[in-house]
Amino acid sequence: MNTNNNVYTVIYTTLIVVVVAALLAFVSQSLKDRQDANEKAETISQMLASAQYGSKADLDKLSNKEKLAKYSEEIEKAFVIDVDGNVLRELEGIDVYSPKALKRQNYNIKGGANKTGEPELPVFIFKNGRTVVPIYGAGLWGPIWGYISFNADEATIGGAYFDHESETAGLGARIKDDPSFQAEFVGEKPDFSSANVFDIVKGGAPKDASGASEVDNKIDAISGATMTSQGLDAAIDTWLAAYAKYFLNAAPAQHECCGEECEGECEGEEECEHHKAMEE
């Protein structure tokens, strides 16, 4: 048989590609449920890590079942809001947003040709008072995503965990692998009233006297990972801006003069009665 004949070559390559494609499609379909279950458990452990229920390494020691159980136990309520902060629907049971679902919402937030509807933004409130919201965006090589938790005041970041598909190991991958980078977020206060909600800056974020990052909306970027840092910055800005109205409404009103939380009824604009009282 002449295997170098043109017709034979075309038929042979077509056949082998079709067979391989069919096999891979079949395997991918039959393993999908198992993979989704693993991904769901992973998403849950990332959310729990951002809400400070232990480090990611410790949470990874739990089995899938234990992760799901811990989530059911610790979740206070979960719901979906629109960009105006109105609750659209409750999330019942263990209904978390996997990176795939976040990708869809990312298109909806950003608009453009891939938009399929109005953004539906998930909010997860845990029993320790922390509110977890996701972020999603583009790194250098592929998607990056993560979960940021806010303390009970709905203004201060309580923790963060980020993951990526294919950032460079040792550089961009440090958004996931470097706990000290994630720890930088703790205690920072995003500025929900501006479009530039959060900044990951080159050359050093402002430091306070003790050398810790100042309480503002800036943290240090990762050296050698400019594109990943910028991608993460953009992802956080895009998503937290979409949540801005929710957090601005949720945070307790403050006296304009001193920034202290109001007690009881207070519009935040009125003259500080208690301030005057203190002066007297």
Binding site: M1, T3, N4, N5, Y8, T9, Y12, T13, I16, V17, V20, L23, L24, V27, S28, L31, R34, Q35, N38, A41, E42, D60, S63, N64, S166, A169, G170, A173
Partner: protein, 204 residues
Amino acid sequence: MNAKLKETILNPIFKGNPITVLVLGICSSLAVTVTMKGALVMALSVIVVCGISSLILSLLRNTIPGRVRIIVQLVVVAMMVILVDQVLKSFEATYAIDKQLSVYIGLIITNCIVMGRIEAFALGNKPGASFLDGVANGAGYGMILLIVAFFRELLGSGTLFGIDILNRFGYVPNNLVILPPFALILLGCIVWVQRSIQKDLQEK
């Protein structure tokens, strides 16, 4: 067992080791040898990919059109790698390791050992021998991976397979060992040891 078969199996393990003698697959051996667990999963994956791709291509060897044989090899190897990746993702025990190895499982496709053995051996030999050759080369690669990972995890984290070995004696893990350059230094040492045992490898 006849001598030729014995040679097929034993040669890649020591005398013709893909990493230390042929110097193939260096990139992944620097990347995945931080922990024993990662190295073991990577080694098994390469053994499976190498063995079964060699078997399939050896079965097809008389039908493959000569002009597109590299493409056909690539399709089969890529299929095997995707299958391994999918299976690793499907089990709870291996999901975390698959995430840790991230792109390196996918990059088995570009591992020269796989294509090299198919081109050099599987296309000219019977399926049984080709399968053994693939497995043996994967094992030779995996053996070096495990030796490197043993030192890197022991000295870099003070553990083996995640179990504390040195830390309980107050050992302070050495961060240099975790970084890829140290794997290259270790590989160099292994090549040195092998060449001093096996004098015929030394250049005049």
